[in-house]
């Protein structure tokens, strides 16, 4: 007898975005506005390019910003989709409301919530968030929006949301970066953007190259995606796999090149990273550095396999990351 699989259905909701926003960012007493279209989900304003020759850090340029959002339906039949998740005798315009709010995850600040009626979408209506103080934001501001029931409904229909404030659709979030985001390698690894023409990535240096500290270069066209890597699963997966190769280059460089300097404050973090992955003490690893070149080579051959395995169960568990990714893809399909 084979086990049967049941799909348990919870409350009906729409799992694709119904609304996108045009965005206009402006600053008090300044003539400079930033306009972004419906599909811009990641906006980096940590540097303000006032003109071709002048770029100012945002926090020097202004203490606050204003944000205008103009909602537009993504699909022509969006209202029909909303009708499916409310009750037959209800009218979408009276039952459903669009909520928009801004939040900063680091400071745990949520700015005012705006409730927009359905009739106001696609009417070029501007939703204004004025005088957002930049000192209440650290790193990024996230714009979130969803559709909820604005009124309750008494029903025995178990699959339809009937309570006030039930979420029936969630839109895509938009991220506005107000501060420079650390490069993907953090303090440990030299990872950065570069003009690579038709290549996606390239590892430079190491032991087999010019004996210089390895650099992991990715095509600069993808810089903004790499710097907001936690937002893109594709980037995360790429970096995880790239890290396996890159860590090995670094291991080789530390053990076999003469350039590695224990007194160099930029070199030591790389060693610390390798120790962290291998879960060995720094002092223990330093002892290997004292061996002669042949012994170090055989140590490298021994450690490289361990490194390849341990990196998969270090801070991020590769297997469960992959499982979750597959699961979310199955859900999307």
């Amino acid at each position: 007898m084979t086990a049967q699989k049941f799909k348990i259905k919870t409350i009906e909701s729409i799992d694709f975005p119904l609304v996108e926003f045009k965005k206009i960012i402006s600053f008090q007493d300044k003539d400079y506005d930033i306009e972004k279209g419906l599909n811009d989900q990641v906006i980096d304003i940590h540097n303000i390019e006032i003109n071709e020759s002048t770029v100012l850090p945002l926090r020097q340029y202004s203490k606050s910003m204003n944000l205008k959002l103009i909602p537009e339906w993504v699909e022509n039949n969006a209202i029909q989709e909303l009708k499916k998740v409310i009750f037959d005798n209800e009218i979408v315009e009276e039952t459903v409301v669009l909520n928009i709010y801004l939040l900063c995850p680091d400071t745990k600040k949520i700015f005012d919530l705006k409730k927009i009626s359905i009739q106001e979408i696609n009417q070029n209506k501007q939703i204004n968030f004025d005088e957002i103080k930049l000192d209440e934001i650290e790193e990024k501001l996230i714009i979130q929006s969803n559709f909820t029931r604005n009124i309750g409904y008494s029903s025995n229909h178990t699959l339809k949301a009937d309570k006030k404030s039930s979420i029936i659709a969630t839109n895509r979030e938009i991220r506005i970066y107000t501060d420079e985001v650390d490069a993907p390698g953090g303090d440990y690894l030299d990872i950065g953007p570069y003009e690579l023409e038709n290549l996606l990535f390239k590892v430079e240096g190491g032991f087999n190259g010019n004996l210089k500290r390895p650099k992991f270069l990715y095509h600069k066209a993808f810089d903004k995606y790499f710097k907001s890597g936690d937002y893109y699963k594709s980037v995360q997966l790429f970096l995880l796999m790239g890290l396996v190769i890159f860590s090995d280059y670094n291991l080789k460089w530390i053990l076999l090149s003469e350039e590695f300097d224990q007194n160099n404050s930029e070199h030591m973090p790389v060693l610390e990273f390798i120790c962290k992955v291998l879960n060995i003490k720094k002092a223990e690893f330093m002892e290997i550095l004292e061996l002669d070149q042949n012994e170090k080579l055989s140590k490298y051959l021994e450690i490289t396999h361990t490194l390849q395995e341990k990196i998969q169960v270090n801070e991020i568990n590769y297997k469960s990351f992959f499982q979750k990714l597959i699961k979310s893809e199955l859900k999307d399909n």
Binding site: D106, F111, L113
Partner: protein, 267 residues
């Protein structure tokens, strides 16, 4: 007010220098020396723990005012404070003193370096008062030193004592009614036995953020100042219920929704 101030040493280095678990000598620092701020600060200097950043006169005035206000509060309730449990009843009042004097923007929450420095440089005596019931008990000297270190230095950043107080008030402050909710809960805490510390733990640790701190204020009012004072389990389950309702959008939910659906009060 400049809050770009802190100890020169990084957190881990600082911990190595002063933690009572790293070195037996530091037990005296966080037990005996911590009873007197001057002595404690002198000991930090002896350990080459230096400050970095400009300390302006405004901040020093505020620090003095905070200390004075806390001292008069403690004097006022001197007769009522018999145990460390009683001391916790004044947490909301002390939170208001810190918050009303230190008019910082929200990003101050993240400046752990500043709060650590502030606590160890000016408020170590208050840390001892709050967390240690008998500082002269020689049998507990090591345990006490570790507690003072954890609350003053803050191994877990959010536990740094002064930051903890500031956050309590920040999460209950209202744009229009100012300290109305905080005062109400403070009053109730002084009169009643209840899960006030569990509530504080939720304010400090959980993701209860909402516009104008709606969720913490509404839930706090219902559970701690309403017609029925919640028991610990009821409070914990109410927060669990709030967090598990992922298909509800309750960050601006009104009191009625919270009463009926989250705190389960039928009326």
């Amino acid at each position: 007010m400049n809050i770009d101030i802190g100890f020169k040493l990084e957190k881990s280095e600082l911990a190595k220098s002063i933690s009572p678990t790293e070195n037996q000598v530091n037990i005296a620092l966080f037990s005996h020396d911590a009873l007197n701020q001057q002595k404690f600060s002198h000991q930090l200097k002896m350990r080459m723990i230096e400050t970095e950043g400009e300390i302006n006169s405004e901040l020093l005035e505020k620090v003095e005012k905070i200390n004075e206000e806390i001292n008069s509060l403690l004097k006022k309730y001197e007769g009522d404070i018999k145990s460390s449990r009683d001391k916790g009843k004044l947490d909301f009042d002390i939170a208001k003193i810190f918050h009303s004097n230190l008019n910082f923007s929200r990003s101050a929450i993240l400046n752990y370096r500043f709060w650590r420095w502030l606590t160890l440089s000016y408020f170590i005596e208050k840390v001892v008062w709050r967390w240690i019931s008998d500082p002269n008990d020689m049998n507990k000297i090591r345990k006490n030193a570790i507690t003072v270190f954890q609350r003053g230095f803050g191994e877990r950043d959010r536990r740094i004592d002064t930051l903890r107080y500031w956050v309590i008030a920040e999460r209950l402050w209202d744009r229009n009614k100012q300290y109305y909710y905080l005062d109400k809960i403070a009053e109730s805490a002084k009169k009643n036995e209840g899960p006030f510390q569990d509530f504080i733990n939720n304010l400090i640790d959980n993701n209860l953020y909402s516009p104008n701190e709606n969720v913490t204020k509404v839930m706090g009012s219902i559970m701690l100042t309403g017609e029925k004072l919640f028991k610990t389990k009821e409070l914990i389950f109410s927060f669990k219920r709030y967090h598990s309702y992922t298909n509800r959008f309750l960050i601006e939910g009104n009191e009625d929704i919270f009463r009926k659906e989250i705190c389960l009060i039928s009326r």
